[in-house]
Symmetry: C2
Subunit: 490 residues, 2 copies
């Protein structure tokens, strides 16, 4: 993509001044709720609502035409009915707007007349050099300018994941999960009918975007497979791309045809080509976020040799099975490492990998385990289960004992609670520091009441998974990408 076009898209997706053509006071209408979401999201720039029949829109002065707005516009959002879209684009062109998001539906998705209307729309836009997202799009999100311009009221926090989605509904639902689980998002694009800007171009744009560390792509159909793979090959050398290709099966392809009109090719061929291009293939929507957040904050493992440390044996067995089945190895411990653990664990400890801490809840044991395993040259990544979050269990027992056990007074309970919380906090700091020092990922599996993935520790971000299977799936993707990158270098 040329530098000039990159700059244009960059302005459009990180706007300072936005006009909403068809803004409305009614929250039954797209021009109403979309504007409400932008206000609620506290867009950092200026919003100019355009509506010839109103004096005010949602408390802001309304403009009769975009041409009446006294400053240049970075992005226009079009929410007028389909039959008024062409003149609106013509006016935006005259105003010199570089880019538009057209949420209006009733275009190529509805049949021949709509197709012809869409063609005319693109012709007018081309004439003025306007770039368009849509039509029939769920909208866009750009968190670093607090732009939440989507049909659904979803406000994920800032982060490093960007998401290109050929389904608006699926896309915004995932933004909602991201909001709920505090998973940081950079930008989101509901691509709509892709009359002008395609998923390809968005990939090229995001490849260059500094704040985006990982790209998610929900695909139903593409016109030009060869072009997609060429673009992907370039992008995946710069950052990981996770692809959920829907319409893989007979039933899925039929559903895709009736949804976006996408015609699915041979699923196996397509999948093989995606892998060849370095993509991470994902089948469940929820896995997209799990894996993306791991890419956002964890270093890549250099190899497939995993150390496992657990507070209880059963979890170690389960994790060993899942790791082995995912292609990982659990190397045995060397005598020196065993000797170090001999000093801190009871005589009946496992003396092997997984290291079973046999329920010892102790700050020094946690720290020594972490460092001892990461220091070895035969362990590439570490999974710690039942260590993070154990403070909550300690507090639960103490809290149950309060007023019952004679040695647990209010004062002693407070001491236990403080100790447990500070131990937990210190171990989280220690883990982040160790990851930085050893450049190896440490994935915690959390024993606690929260199922959140993302945990802030003194301004840094620690990722903890609620189950071993989710941790291992994410680790598998990190390793797969690392392997791809090292193949590219040789």
């Amino acid at each position: 993509m040329e530098k000039q076009m990159l700059q244009k898209l960059d302005k459009m997706f990180n706007p300072n001044i936005i006009a909403i053509i068809g803004a409305s006071n009614s929250i039954q209408k797209w021009g109403g709720f979309l504007t409400v979401h932008m206000l609620k999201g506290k867009f950092i720039g200026k919003i100019y609502p355009v509506n010839p029949r109103e004096k005010q829109i949602l408390g802001m002065p309304a403009y009769r035409s975009i041409l009446d707005i006294p400053e240049p516009i970075d992005l226009g959002i079009i929410a007028v009915p389909a039959d008024k879209v062409l003149p609106a684009i013509e006016e935006a062109g005259k105003k010199g707007v570089p880019g538009l998001v057209v949420v209006t539906s009733g275009f190529s998705e509805t049949g021949e007349d709509g197709k012809s209307l869409e063609k005319q729309m693109v012709e007018i836009a081309k004439r003025f050099g306007i770039r368009i997202i849509g039509p029939n799009t769920m909208g866009i999100t750009s968190t670093y300018v607090s732009l939440y311009a989507t049909g659904a009221a979803v406000f994920p926090p800032r982060g490093h994941i960007s998401f290109i989605s050929q389904s608006g509904n699926l896309g915004t639902q995932m933004l909602y999960w991201a909001e709920r689980e505090k998973i940081g998002i950079d930008q989101f694009f509901g691509t709509g009918n892709e009359a002008d800007i395609s998923a390809f171009e968005l990939l090229e744009y995001l490849a260059e975007r500094e704040t985006t560390r990982v790209i998610l792509l929900y695909l139903e159909g593409i016109d030009d497979g060869r072009k997609l793979f060429n673009v992907l090959k370039c992008v995946t050398r710069k950052k990981p791309v996770l692809v959920l290709k829907a319409g893989r099966t007979k039933a899925g392809a039929r559903a895709a045809l009736s949804h976006t009109g996408a015609i699915a090719g041979k699923a196996e061929v397509f999948e093989a080509a995606l892998k060849q291009a370095g993509c991470i293939i994902v089948k469940n929507p929820s896995d997209l976020l799990d894996i993306a957040i791991a890419f956002s904050y964890l270093p890549l493992p250099k190899g497939n040799r995993i150390g496992v440390c657990t507070l209880g044996g059963g979890w170690g067995v389960v994790a060993s099975d899942l790791l082995n089945e995912a292609g990982f190895e659990l190397p045995p411990l060397d005598p020196q490492t065993i000797a170090r653990f001999d000093k801190i664990l009871p005589p009946y400890w496992s003396r092997s990998n997984p290291v079973d801490l046999v329920g010892q809840v102790d700050e020094d044991i946690f720290n020594t385990s972490l460092h001892t395993l990461l220091e070895t040259d035969y362990i590439d990544a570490l999974i710690m289960m039942g260590v993070f979050g154990v403070s909550e269990f300690v507090i639960r027992v103490a809290s149950a004992s309060l007023g019952v056990a004679p040695d647990v007074t209010e004062n002693e309970f407070k001491q236990i609670e403080d100790y447990a919380n500070s131990t937990e906090h210190k171990f989280r700091e220690e883990t982040l520091a160790a990851m930085e020092k050893f450049k190896k990922p440490v994935i915690g599996v959390l024993l606690s009441s929260t199922a959140n993935l993302v945990h802030e520790v003194d301004g840094k971000t620690l990722i903890l998974f609620p189950t071993p299977e989710r941790a291992i799936k994410a680790l598998q993707a990190l390793y797969q990408y690392q392997q791809y990158l090292s193949r590219q270098k040789t």
Copy 2:
């Protein structure tokens, strides 16, 4: 299992009067925190703490010996150090206690001396006709008598899932998830070293237990595979048994050996035998609860033909793929059904299965869709996505508009909120009634901020999954069990 033995186990696991031998005031000790958990769990019967060195234990009068207790004991819990276990069992025998839970460790899991001690323990117990869970067990839970006698402070609600676990740590962690997600549990057994009562016998006992609708089994190793399969064959004809067999892989088997000393056989052979015996094989611990809760409350699908109804097309495509990949079919709609949907949906609706409601949030559309699809004779189960929980989105938009949009006053917001909530509630009632009427499972995939599986609706239980993949995995297990049952009948 003989009736007399059943009655004995039944008394032991649903006790009215419990003695805790080795009860303690210190929450650092098993005899302390286990007793605290029983008090916190509000055991419905009577607790007698036995400790010769204390006058009171956690506010209750202490007894010097179990022989001093003035009534018969249904269950004894032994938490004294290993070297004091034999005399404690001798005394329990003299007292006429039918059953014991021995949480003390230091037996066969520690080596030859421990093995010999364990053998002696069993001999004494046999002499008195005492049955034993353990030693080295995490404890037991029996929710219908509010008995929470486990080493971890976990208090799941009452329900129909019983769980036999050869890992105490994994077992109680899952009880914690159950507590967090309001998943109803009947009984839990950490089997410990299985010196006396084995997983076999617990299976036979639970097969007869009325409140148990589904049995979970976490297995690391078994001595007598043939016996296990014979027992399982009988049990699975009565109720579904979900098995997580750990130690399937090389790494897992090595970890199991060092954890419980279990020697794994050939994984494939074992798995084939489990399937042959009608078990549902599960690989991830979290899947155990997902599938079990589905068995607790959903009717079994008679066939593999699934109707899908969605609020947005992308989810329909994703679900179609996952369903097809899981062996399900999505039959096309007949003209009569299409005609019924034509009357309620906009002209551009999908006219196929999945039925895409194209974002129409309307009580009548929801109800008509539900009934129209369930009434057909070619749909065995229904998945509804983005219908349940949509009220929350409606309220979110209205709430964002409050004080911003001129047509959303406090009063109007309240109206929107009430309408959304009551529509949601009525549709949930409608769904439960339709399931009962048509005897077909309806699985909702929830669009909302809660990830809970279990939802109470006027005293009944509705299961809603947070993602399509989890819903489909559960549906797959229901169908697999239905197929097994119908093969048994022919």
